[in-house]
Assembly symmetry: C2
Homo-oligomer: 216 residues x 2
């Protein structure tokens, strides 16, 4: 994997740049949603999508009729996953910032037509958000399988950016009577809302596994 994680271009503030595969994978694997960018009718387009990673490949899926699936079978794309960890509250507006972890992936989208790869991708995307869910549900029908489009983004380059910790103020500003620090932020999975028509009440294992995977 490491050989493919070559940065497309340098991140300007180099102390925030991380290019090792472990860091990149961890940020990708803990994301609920990715923002996928591509050029459609000569306009940049950014769409939030479910996804899953399999080694060097990221899979996205959608209805075959959806524009993003239909029109992007062989185009350049950029996929970004961001976690917001806190608001950095400094003594000057200039030094305000955000604590975050993000990964920007560049690659080319490829239509997944091989049935075995397509099924594996659908399992991965389902299990990315709810680990093990694929085996808990009613099996996918041929009709559903055929109505679903899967695109693979082969990672050509990926770079992570991470900011953590306290604000960094100008030395003379530390003497000012202005409160500074970090206001923490987190995305988390919480309680469940039972479907009115449930005939079973016990929660499936995937719910606890999802909380374990995504919650801080």
């Amino acid at each position: 994997m490491e050989k493919n994680i070559a940065p497309h271009s340098k991140v300007r503030v180099s102390k925030r740049a991380h290019y090792d595969a472990e860091t990149v994978h961890d940020i990708l694997d803990k994301g609920l949603v990715a923002h996928v960018g591509f050029v459609l009718d000569e306009r940049p387009m950014v769409i939030p999508m479910a996804y899953a990673r399999d080694g060097d490949i990221i899979y996205i899926h959608g209805a075959k009729a959806a524009r993003i699936i239909k029109k992007n079978k062989d185009v350049a794309a950029c996929l970004t996953v961001t976690h917001i960890d806190g608001l950095v509250v400094a003594r000057s507006a200039f030094h305000h910032s955000v604590n975050y972890r993000s990964v920007v992936v560049h690659g080319r989208l490829r239509d997944v037509t091989d049935p075995a790869e397509k099924e594996r991708a659908l399992i991965l995307v389902t299990n990315h958000l709810l680990p093990g869910r694929w085996d808990e549900v009613r099996p996918m029908t041929k009709k559903e399988f055929n109505a679903t489009g899967v695109l693979a983004l082969e990672i050509e380059s990926a770079s992570a950016k991470i900011r953590t910790g306290a604000p960094v103020d100008d030395e003379e500003d530390y003497a000012l009577p202005i409160w500074a620090g970090v206001l923490t932020a987190e995305q988390s999975l919480g309680g469940v809302v039972n479907d009115d028509r449930n005939i079973v009440s016990e929660l499936p294992a995937s719910i606890a596994l999802a909380r374990q995977k995504f919650n801080p």
Copy 2:
């Protein structure tokens, strides 16, 4: 405002599409970060950025030396804000979904050079995350002002997509002994981490206002 909120193109599943200004503004105003897409060196690029809305304009800012500021002074851009509200756990993999609210804005970036507009934009971006913070901090110096670049995205079109509620399963699947429902998700601001070098301990008003603004 309404006249400008014309959809760039129809959202495929029309029951999820909302084009009224109030819905679009609410989703934009409650976002911590936007994913901004543009074409750089012929490649699509998606970057998470702080932002603020002022009527029909969305401002983003960054160091003048940053590529996104330097190279995008007159280009098409797409700005997307997404809130994830829950994982929709259905009885079949096919009907799994995500509850979310998102806005996709299309427009053109314009370099903000007028000092009055630029200052207003910097105040708005600071106060977007921490309401009232601009007046709590040490005033911005001329040097800081000059080192900061501000871009305005004039909203040409904006569309919101919202999914809420329970899974929608195939009628015959409701008889299956498979749990279904929604696993709720939320982004929230939590506790504060005091800066080690604080000489005051009382939290500023902006902290409580930020929690009030962004927490469910």
